[in-house]
């Protein structure tokens, strides 16, 4: 059962960390920084992919850091769920990184994105990996803090008034949720004397019901803020849209999913008693509905996408609340799908902003005729998110609905109905943007950016923003001309949209994997046995940290 390869798991955190350190050493040599960052990401991706294959064949693997046995030593656990999350998150981050590099280079300055971008991005990835691998609660907390601190820097990068304003909300809310997490950690340690998750799984069950419920709810609130479930989601649409496109894209894809991942662990490993699944059902229902109604009211593409993000977190919470192996398998697949699709949509929104000068729907029009490629790049993930067959969004939702019907209480049926209705509303929100931004004529737009008119007036497509840089009223007025749609940016987005389509093509094996992940999630005793096995049987760590 023990495998040598999975013992390399700490490297998934260490490689990005080392990459960030090297980045700081060569801070003034942009090209080298870029090489190091991309290299570190590719290396991490290869390692994660190998680990996924390994874990798929041999089951959960445990790394005892420094060779100390759990529950006294710190452990990292690689099971199917964490390995899949690691692979998907690094794929997405790599696409976003290429997009960001290209955006910086195409932005006119050869310096690329501000030199702080690369190391911070790597630290973000390290934090996310650490959270996915953490075998004890405190390590999870540290992972959260690493990724949050990196995200503060990324969100406020450039320090414009708008970003600072959005950053304040984001930072304050995140810090409060971290403090809540810390308080619950303290209480859990006080009640049980351990922070190792496997050990907790055994010891929490012996506590009185009331204490269990209190600890459970406190953890859930702390993770709920991070996962943006209603009513703890109000910070998200306020802060995400102001950041630059690649930053928003990676946040939307990864950060909320780390919260969802933690909720899965809480519900399946720490408190498998299904104490509050009814509450989770209602929370899921409200998250779906309120999120999508918010999305329908927006006229800014990025804000609209932020609201659909919240809405679709509701689907995952629904699956977790149903809690059967079938439902959890659908949730695992749905998370992978949602990370990829939501990130690609935000990347496309960045391209729309570049080509049309704005993300405000009133200012955009006729983009399909101007750039058919962009149209396809938007439409495929948009339909995917709306749940049109045969895309992965449809498959994930069918999985959830089947699981809901199989559970069969009236609340499950209500949630099934609402989830179908919400996917219809999602489609409506996405298609409305499609109609207005891509299909209508430029003349019909309320206040079209001159860069859109320039195309139709001259009868050819301008490659750079030179045509409008001298004219007033455009976003590009008075700035140095930039390439409107750089090939590498479009390439990175296309690649990610392609990955989204591949999720459909390889849905069979993926559902197998998700099924075996869910099987392990519903049998927490396997996790406990793997972690608490004496060192040597669970695999000894070869490399000390």
């Amino acid at each position: 059962m023990s495998s040598e390869l999975a013992q390399l798991a700490p490297l998934a955190v260490l490689i990005p960390f080392l990459g960030a350190a090297v980045n700081f050493v060569v801070v003034h040599r942009n090209r080298l920084q870029r090489g190091v960052t991309v290299g570190a990401m590719v290396l991490t991706l290869v390692l994660n992919a190998l680990m996924l294959v390994d874990v798929w064949q041999q089951g959960p693997q445990v790394v005892h850091l420094g060779g100390w046995a759990a529950p006294y030593g710190i452990v990292m656990v690689v099971d199917q769920l964490s390995a899949l999350m690691l692979v998907v998150s690094v794929v997405v981050s790599l696409a976003v990184l290429v997009y960001a590099v290209s955006e910086g280079v195409a932005g006119g300055d050869d310096e690329g994105p501000i030199s702080i971008f690369y190391p911070t991005f790597l630290l973000l990835v390290a934090g996310v990996s650490n959270a996915f691998l953490a075998g004890d609660l405190f390590n999870l907390y540290v992972g959260f803090e690493i990724l949050l601190t990196a995200s503060y820097v990324l969100l406020t990068m450039g320090g414009s008034a708008q970003r600072i304003r959005a950053g304040v909300t984001y930072v304050v809310v995140s810090v409060i949720s971290s403090i809540l997490f810390l308080i619950s950690l303290g209480m859990i340690y006080g009640a049980t004397g351990t922070v190792n998750m496997a050990d907790l799984s055994v010891k929490l069950a012996d506590l009185p019901q009331g204490t269990q419920l209190q600890l459970h709810l406190m953890l859930l609130v702390a993770f709920g803020v991070k996962a943006a479930i209603f009513p703890l989601s109000l910070w998200l649409p306020d802060s995400y849209p102001t950041a630059s496109a690649p930053v928003t894209a990676v946040f939307a894809g990864l950060l909320t999913k780390v919260g969802v991942y933690s909720i899965i662990r809480t519900e399946t490993l720490l408190f498998p008693g299904r104490q509050i699944n009814g509450l989770l059902m209602w929370v899921a229902l409200l998250t779906m509905l309120v999120g999508i109604l918010g999305a329908l009211a927006q006229i800014d593409v990025k804000r609209m996408l932020s609201f659909t993000l919240i809405s679709h977190i509701g689907y995952m919470i629904f699956g977790i609340a149903v809690g059967s192996p079938q439902a959890l398998a659908a949730v695992v697949y749905y998370i992978a799908h949602h990370i990829v699709i939501q990130t690609s949509l935000f990347l496309v929104a960045g391209l729309i902003e570049r080509r049309g000068g704005s993300t405000n729907v009133d200012r955009l029009a006729g983009l399909y005729r101007i750039s058919p490629v962009l149209g396809v790049l938007y439409l495929v993930p948009a339909l995917n998110l709306g749940g049109i067959p045969p895309f992965s969004g449809f498959l994930g939702k069918v999985g959830l609905i089947e699981a809901g019907v199989a559970a069969g209480t009236w609340l499950d049926y209500l949630l099934v109905g609402v989830s179908v209705f919400v996917s219809l509303l999602t489609l409506m929100a996405m298609v409305r943007v499609w109609n207005r931004v891509f299909l209508r004529r430029v003349e019909d737009a309320e206040y079209p950016d001159p860069v859109l008119r320039a195309t139709t007036a001259q009868g050819h497509r301008p490659r750079t923003s030179r045509v409008v840089s001298g004219k007033p009223g455009s976003t590009f007025s008075g700035t140095a001309p930039v390439v409107l749609l750089p090939k590498t940016m479009v390439g990175a987005t296309t690649a990610l949209v392609g990955v989204g389509v591949l999720l459909t093509v390889f849905a069979g094996p993926l559902f197998d994997l998700a099924g075996s992940a869910a099987d392990n999630l519903t049998h927490p005793d396997r996790y406990v046995r793997a972690v608490l096995a004496p060192v040597g049987q669970g695999g000894v760590s070869e490399e000390d940290q």
């Binding site: 601190t149 600072i164 304050v172 303290g186």
Partner: protein
């Protein structure tokens, strides 16, 4: 488990003052609130180690139960370092906000305010003078809203007129 009353009271004060400061609109006070809350949480964790004992260094003459529990101290140390970094970051944000706007206040989201100001009025559906698509020459067509709702009309008779009034008022305000 023994409880240290002094620590408990200090913790309570830290938490309550922290929450109070957090609700302020001034950024500096929010930061102070966050710091107090973090310190409250740190005390809580420290508290879980119970009665302090001997330093946790191996000593043959001591029984295992006589040592202090070192783990909470390690946890608190980590949390202090993290809160130090966060505090430094928030401070720099406050400074930046001061440089940019000369104010130390949390500002409203413009987009939120814009959405909030949108009336339920819809140019296509609620216009008091609808495009008459029927063949009939309806005498009152000018003054009947095209999407007339009986319930709404009973609740607030003339709400269309009120809405129109508001709109005119707003237009006025823009002019001056």
């Amino acid at each position: 488990m023994t409880v240290n009353l002094t620590l408990l009271v200090v913790m309570g004060v830290l938490f309550s003052v922290g929450v109070y400061l957090l609700l302020e609109r001034s950024l500096t006070r929010v930061l102070l609130g966050l710091m107090l809350l973090t310190n409250g949480a740190n005390l809580l964790i420290l508290h879980t180690s119970g009665v302090p004992g001997a330093a946790p260094l191996h000593d043959k003459s001591l029984d295992g139960s006589e040592y202090s529990d070192p783990l909470p101290q390690a946890l608190v140390l980590t949390s202090i370092v993290i809160s130090l970094a966060t505090t430094a970051f928030v401070l720099s944000m406050i400074w930046r906000s001061w440089v940019l706007a000369r104010r130390d206040e949390i500002q409203d989201d413009l987009e939120d305010r814009r959405v909030a100001q949108q009336s339920s009025y819809d140019a296509e559906d609620d216009d008091a003078m609808p495009q008459d698509t029927s063949e009939f020459d309806h005498a009152d067509a000018r003054f009947t809203p095209s999407r007339h709702n009986e319930e709404e009309a009973a609740e607030s008779p003339g709400h269309h007129r009120v809405e129109k009034l508001h709109r005119d008022e707003r237009r006025h305000r823009h002019e001056f």
